[in-house]
Amino acid sequence: MAERSRESRRRRRGVAALAAVALLGPTAAACGGGDDGGVPEINVYYAPEENFQQVVDDCNQQAQGRYRLAYQVLPRGADEQRVQMVRRLAAEDDGMDVLGLDVTWTAEFASAKWIREWTGQQKSEASQGTLQQPLESASYEGKLYAAPKNTNTQLLWYRSDLVPNPPKTWDEMIKMSQDLKSQGKPYEIDTMGAQYEGLVVLYNNMVASGGGKMLSDDGGKVEFDQGAVDALGTLQKFASAGVTNPSFTNTQEDGARLQFQSGSGAFQLNYPFVWPALQEGAPDLKDKVKWARYPGIDAGTPSKVTIGGYNLAVSSYSKHPAEAYEAALCLRSPEHQLFSAVNDGVPPTIESVYDDPKMDEAYPFKADILAQVKDGANRPITPAYQNLSTVLSATLSPPADIQPEQDAKELRGSIQDALESKGVLP
C-alpha cells in the first residue's frame, strides 16, 4: 500500500515536471531565437495568405543561412491587422522586422517613424519595373517607405445571359438593372455598402472617375471640389434606385460575392477573388459570368478605380534591418509575385509578371486588371487616412440618405479636423 502511493506520487511529480517543460518550452524557444550570434531570425508579419508559407520557405532556401524568415500570420480583418502592429510598434517592440502594410497605412506608419526609408540599391531594386500607382502608395513626402508586394482592383462582373453588353457608366448600369427588374429577371447590382473601408473605396471610385478631388495634392488640406460633390450625388442615386440587395448597407466583400452567387444579381463590383470562388460555388453560373472594366461617370472617359494591395516595410525597431530589406525584396520578387498571383489570386505589382503565360489560366482577366491598375486611383495619401476614412464612411452611411450639398459642407469641416487629428472620430 505504502509502496504504491509512493510510486504514484513519484509519477505525479513526473507529470508535473513534464507539464512545466511543455509550458515553458515555447517561450524559451521564442526568446532564444536569432540573437545567439547564429542565424538572425526575421519575423514577417503578414496577412493570412494561403500559400505564403511556401514563398517564405523558398526565400529561406535562397538566403542560404544569411537569415531565417518566420511567417507570423496576422488576423484576417484589416483593422485587426493594423491594430496589432500599431500597438506593438507604439511600444517599440523589436520582435517585428518585415511588416505587411495595406496600401493605406504606409503614410501613417512613415509619419509615426515606425518604418524605415528605402534608399540606394534597395530602393532601386524595389522600384524597378514596378507599376507607378502601387509605387506611389508606398511613398510618402517623396521618399519610398515600402516595397509593393501585390496590388488589387475591383472589376465589373456581369451576367452575360442577361446583359449582352457591359455598361460603361454608372447611369447606364442603373438603367439596365431597373429594366431587368421591371422584366422580373435577376437585376441586383451587388457591391460593398457597409459602413467601413469598402464604402469609402466605392465613393473614391466615383470621385476619381469623375475627375474630382477630396484632398490637395500633398494630402495636407481638404479640397472637396465639385467632382467630389457630384460623386455624392451618384452614390445616393445608386443606393436609392432600388437596384441594390436589401442587405446593401451591411454588406462587405464576401457578402457581395454570396449575393451575386446566389443568383439574385445581374452585376457585381468586387475584387478578383470572386472568380475562383464562383467556379467552385456556382457551377451553373460560371459560364454566364463575364467581366469588364469598372463603370465610370462619363461614357467618354475611362473609369479610374481605387487600387488596394499590400506593401512590405521594414520596422524601425528591427534589430536586423539589412537582412529584413533583403527578405522583403525576396518575398516580392517577380517569381514569387507570379507564384502568389497564380496560387493565391493576388495581382502582381511588377508589370513584366503579367506577360508570363502561366498568368493566362489563373488570370483570364489579367489585361483588364493591368489596364485598371495603370490608370488606377490611390486613396488620398496622408498619415491621417484612417481618420479620413472613418469620418467619410460615417457620413456616407447609409448612402441612400446622402444630401450632396449639405454633406459636402459638413465633410469639408470634419475632414480638415480629421487631417489635423483634432476632431472626434465617430
Partner: protein
C-alpha cells in the same frame, strides 16, 4: 469591483474615526491596526496597478498627442475636453449608452427577480435548473454576440426570417433593440444570482407571520420581501448599471457602431486604438470614469443607507 474594495475601508475608517475616536477601547484599536497591516500589501499593489494608469491617462487627456504626428505633442489644458463635450458623436454615443443602460437594467431587474424566484423555489432538479439558467452568463460575450449576429443576418439566420424584408442590423432602431436583447439575454442570470442571495435573506418565519396576518401574495412581496432584500437589490443594480454603462463587446460584434449605435466605450476605442489619438481617447476614458463614478455615487448616497459602502452596512 476592485476599486470599491479599495475605497471601502478608507471611507469606513474616516467616518468611524470621526465619530468614535474617543470611544474605542484599547483592544479595538489594536484590532483595527492589525486589520490595516493585513490589507496594506494588497492596497499598495492595487494602487500601483490602478492609480498609475488612471493618473497617466488624466495627464494624457490634457495633451494634444497623436501617435501619427509624434512631433506635434503639446500641453493644451482642457482643450480635449472642450472638443469632446462639444461633439455630436460623443453625445449621440452617450445617449445610446444611457438608453441601453436604463432599458437593460430595468428589464433585467424584473426578469432576474422572476428567474431568481424560480431558481430559489424549485424543489425538483434544483441543480439542473440553476445550471441551465446560468448558461448564458457562462458563454463568452463575443461568441454569443456572433451567434446573435448570424441569427439576424438574412440568408443565414433563423431570426431574420421573422421580418418581412429583413436586414434588421442595418437599421438603427432594430440594431439597438437587438443589442439590448443580447445584453439582457446575457446578463439576466447574473442579476438573478445576486437577487437569489437576497431571497435567501428573507426569513421564512416573517413570511409565515405576514400570511397569518392576512397579507396577500403581492403584499408579502412588496411589504416584506422587498424591504428585506433591499441591500441585495441595490448591489445587483449598482453592479449591472456600472457594467451596462461600459457596454462594448456586443456592439463591437453586432454593428461595429454603424448607424449611430456606438456606445461611449466604442467611441473611446475608435479614437484611442484605431485613431491613435491618445489625447482625445484618454479624455473619453476619463469622462467615462467620471460618469461611472457619478453613477456609483448616486447609488450609494441617494438610494438609502443600506447600499454597499455606507455606514449601515459596515456596522456589526
Amino acid at each position: 469591483m476592485t476599486a470599491e474594495t479599495a475605497t471601502k475601508p478608507t471611507t469606513h475608517r474616516a467616518r468611524a474615526e470621526k465619530k468614535a475616536k474617543t470611544q474605542l477601547s484599547e483592544g479595538r484599536k489594536q484590532e483595527r491596526k492589525l486589520g490595516w497591516l493585513l490589507c496594506a500589501p494588497a492596497a499598495i499593489v492595487m494602487l500601483a496597478v490602478t492609480a498609475y494608469p488612471i493618473i497617466y491617462s488624466v495627464w494624457l487627456s490634457f495633451q494634444r498627442f497623436d501617435l501619427k504626428f509624434p512631433d506635434q505633442r503639446e500641453f493644451i489644458g482642457l482643450g480635449n475636453y472642450i472638443t469632446v463635450l462639444s461633439n455630436q458623436y460623443w453625445w449621440t454615443a452617450f445617449g445610446v449608452t444611457m438608453l441601453i443602460t436604463v432599458v437593460t437594467v430595468a428589464v433585467e431587474l424584473v426578469l432576474g427577480m422572476a428567474l431568481a424566484w424560480v431558481m430559489f423555489k424549485t424543489l425538483v432538479g434544483r441543480g439542473i435548473v440553476r445550471t441551465a439558467a446560468l448558461i448564458p452568463y457562462g458563454i463568452v460575450t463575443v461568441v454569443a454576440a456572433f451567434s446573435w449576429k448570424y441569427a439576424w443576418t438574412p440568408d443565414t439566420g433563423y431570426l431574420a426570417k421573422l421580418f418581412a424584408d429583413g436586414a434588421p442590423l442595418t437599421e438603427r432602431a432594430s440594431s439597438l433593440a437587438i443589442i439590448v436583447l443580447a445584453e439582457i439575454w446575457k446578463t439576466t442570470p447574473f442579476m438573478a444570482l445576486l437577487l437569489m442571495a437576497g431571497l435567501a435573506l428573507v426569513p421564512d418565519d416573517l413570511l409565515k407571520a405576514a400570511s397569518m396576518d392576512g397579507a396577500t401574495g403581492w403584499q408579502r412581496f412588496t411589504k416584506v420581501m422587498l424591504p428585506v432584500m433591499k441591500p441585495a437589490i441595490l448591489v445587483a443594480l449598482l453592479f449591472r448599471t456600472l457594467d451596462a454603462f461600459r457596454v462594448f463587446d456586443n456592439i463591437y460584434v453586432l454593428t461595429a457602431g454603424a448607424n449611430n449605435t456606438s456606445s461611449v466605450s466604442m467611441l473611446a476605442y475608435n479614437n484611442l486604438i484605431r485613431g491613435l489619438n491618445l489625447g482625445i481617447g484618454s479624455t473619453m476614458s476619463v469622462l467615462i470614469f467620471i460618469a461611472v463614478a457619478i453613477i456609483a455615487f448616486i447609488f450609494v448616497k441617494l438610494f438609502g443607507t443600506a447600499a454597499p459602502g455606507s455606514e449601515e452596512e459596515g456596522r456589526r
